[in-house]
């Protein structure tokens, strides 16, 4: 029977020849993930199940990234609970301060996911690993607890929307602009309960950072998962990161899609999502002057090395506009080290930015860059809901690293095309 990429992975993980949209299945999991916010709730639930041990100590992972280094006593206690649990359970992949990074940048970097895997994570942006051709989806803490105990989760098999990508991105345009453009087109519930499957000749021009960023924001269109067809670029990434042998699933030519959306990458412009929804996507024509107070470059969406390179390219030899606070957060220790060795940290510091240890901190209004009432930030993060980065009367504009850097130069929302011409 004809199936989508997602359906093929779910069939293979539930011992079935085929599955079809709407069926309920029980799937075997290759990896179960949690962070310092969601794992404590999962650990409490796990205890109530009365199990002695997790299903597989190599396939449960916890990453301390949201409020670490501990932002306050309560955060410290939440991390301690995770640390104690992982020590007791002898969890192989427990990542604490010093080794940690933002989970969705770290997990692929550590080679813990490969094509064809089925992964759940108690974090909505777990859909990121679809960039590697895995089925990967966010769940809550109770599902995480059941997953830790049994190595299984139930799913309703999703239908899918296919994105047929053609063309090639223009200079200073990235995967972030593409996904904001797509969410602007289909809305924050445009793919609700469904898969977003990315394929087409345009894939060839997208870097892995572009793909991780796009899969990461599938949830912002309501999707269950985002997944990319695996090509040589993805296989090269997996080989380079010591991932397990990939199993590549291609959708059947006659697979049923609810909708096929054609995206010509060559016409995508730098795109910004205005407050307070990721679907409020706009290009720069006629946006007027939007003064800003802060720029954040980082997060699971855009804290990878390619993102920092894009920002540094714009910042090099320039200075941050007066009264604009610029915060750069490499997503992992490795990204931090690579950025240091490439001289990017010098560029950021000379520009007038601060460079932080990896943390989710400001993205969700936790710490490390909270906004006051009336303040505006341009951020390479993934959500711009009311109060997301601080005061309910503050505003977040979602953009690419190049756009965020260009805005930091001028002190107003600015296209990288404008600054590059200066």
């Amino acid at each position: 029977m004809a199936m989508t990429m997602t359906q093929k992975i779910l069939a293979a993980h539930s011992g079935r020849e085929s599955v079809s949209a709407g069926e309920l299945i029980l799937a075997d999991l290759d990896l179960v993930l949690g962070n310092d916010i969601t794992s404590p709730v999962a650990i409490k639930e796990f205890r109530r199940l009365g199990r002695d041990s997790v299903f597989d100590r190599d396939r449960v992972t916890m990453v301390m990234d949201h409020f670490v280094p501990n932002k306050d006593i309560k955060a410290a206690e939440q991390c301690k609970m995770c640390r104690d649990f992982c020590t007791e359970q002898n969890v192989t992949h427990f990542y604490d301060v010093g080794e940690m990074g933002i989970e969705h940048a770290l997990i692929p970097e550590k080679g813990l996911v490969t094509a064809g895997n089925a992964v759940i994570g108690a974090d909505s942006h777990t859909c990121t690993y679809g960039a590697l051709g895995a089925f990967s989806t966010g769940v809550g803490s109770t599902d995480m607890a059941c997953g830790m105990a049994t190595g299984k989760a139930w799913f309703k098999v999703p239908s899918a929307v296919k994105f047929d990508l053609t063309g090639k991105l223009r200079r200073y345009v990235s995967g972030k602009d593409v996904i904001l453009h797509i969410i602007g087109k289909i809305g924050v519930d445009g793919a609700l309960y469904r898969s977003m499957e990315f394929t087409g000749s345009g894939l060839a021009s997208l870097s892995m950072a572009d793909r991780f960023c796009m899969a990461n924001m599938a949830i912002e269109a309501g999707a269950k998962n985002g997944i990319f067809e695996v090509d040589e670029t993805a296989l090269g990434y997996m080989r380079g990161h010591g991932c397990a042998e990939p199993t590549v699933y291609k959708a059947n030519d006659d697979a049923e899609y609810d909708e096929v959306i054609n995206i010509d990458l060559s016409v995508i412009e730098p795109t910004v999502a205005f407050p307070h929804l990721p679907e409020n996507a706009r290009t720069f024509a006629g946006i007027g002057e939007v003064r800003i107070d802060q720029v954040v470059i980082g997060s699971c969406t855009n804290g990878r090395l390619e993102d920092l390179i894009a920002a540094a390219e714009i910042m090099k030899g320039r200075k941050a506009a007066k009264n604009v606070r610029v915060i750069v957060i490499p997503a992992t220790q490795k990204v931090y080290l690579d950025a240091m060795e490439m001289g990017l940290l010098r560029t950021f510091i000379e520009f007038g930015a601060v460079v932080s240890t990896p943390t989710c901190g400001p993205c969700l209004g936790g710490y490390m860059g909270i906004l006051a009432a009336g303040e505006r930030a341009v951020a390479t993060t993934n959500r711009n809901f009311v109060g997301r980065m601080g005061h309910p009367e503050s505003e977040v504009y979602l953009a690419s690293p190049a756009t965020a850097a260009a805005s930091a130069v001028t002190g107003r929302l600015t296209s990288p095309w404008e600054v590059a011409e200066l």
Partner: protein, 163 residues
């Protein structure tokens, strides 16, 4: 399962950041989470919500983060049921897993007004607006979902051996 309560009504895309702002996610204490429920959307919610109240909302209720703290905060506030035009998928799953009753019913979500008294029989898929007399049909809960909610959540249902 039958629920009766007065309605507190919201619009589309009520996200998990307004249901429970991330600045309060350094705890998983149910009462503490409830004390900040809806804070950034409706600062009056906590003071006016009564045991058994029903929330109605528009499209994509609970969009955003996977934080189970969001349905926990709503349930611990005393809310017995959320009726929306649609729910974000992680929130939907989380709500059932923790034993918060939720149901999709676009017509009811549209027509029921703030302050109306509503009665819902989810096993039979009937929502009745006592204030206006209007009745709405929904898909009845599957039996396993009924059992999860009756037992107070997935873990309780497993522990009680009912699923």
């Amino acid at each position: 399962m039958k629920y009766t309560g007065n309605v507190i009504k919201y619009g589309d895309n009520v996200d998990t950041d307004v249901i429970i702002p991330a600045r309060y996610l350094n705890t998983s204490d149910h009462k503490e989470l409830a004390s900040h429920c809806m804070e950034d959307l409706d600062s009056t919610f906590v003071s006016r919500v009564k045991q058994g109240d029903i929330i109605t909302a528009g499209l994509n209720f609970g969009c955003g983060s996977s934080r189970e703290h969001a349905p926990i905060a709503i349930k611990a506030s005393g809310v017995s049921l959320v009726i929306a035009k649609s729910f974000a998928r992680i929130f939907y799953r989380n709500a059932i897993n923790i034993g918060l009753a939720i149901v999709e019913c676009p017509a009811a979500a549209d027509e029921i007004s703030e302050g109306d008294t509503v009665e819902a029989d989810l096993d039979n898929g009937i929502i009745r607006n006592i204030t206006t007399g209007r009745e709405y049909k929904t898909a009845p809960f599957p039996v396993f979902v009924q059992k999860i909610i009756e037992n107070g959540g997935l873990m309780e249902a497993i522990a009680n051996g009912v699923i």
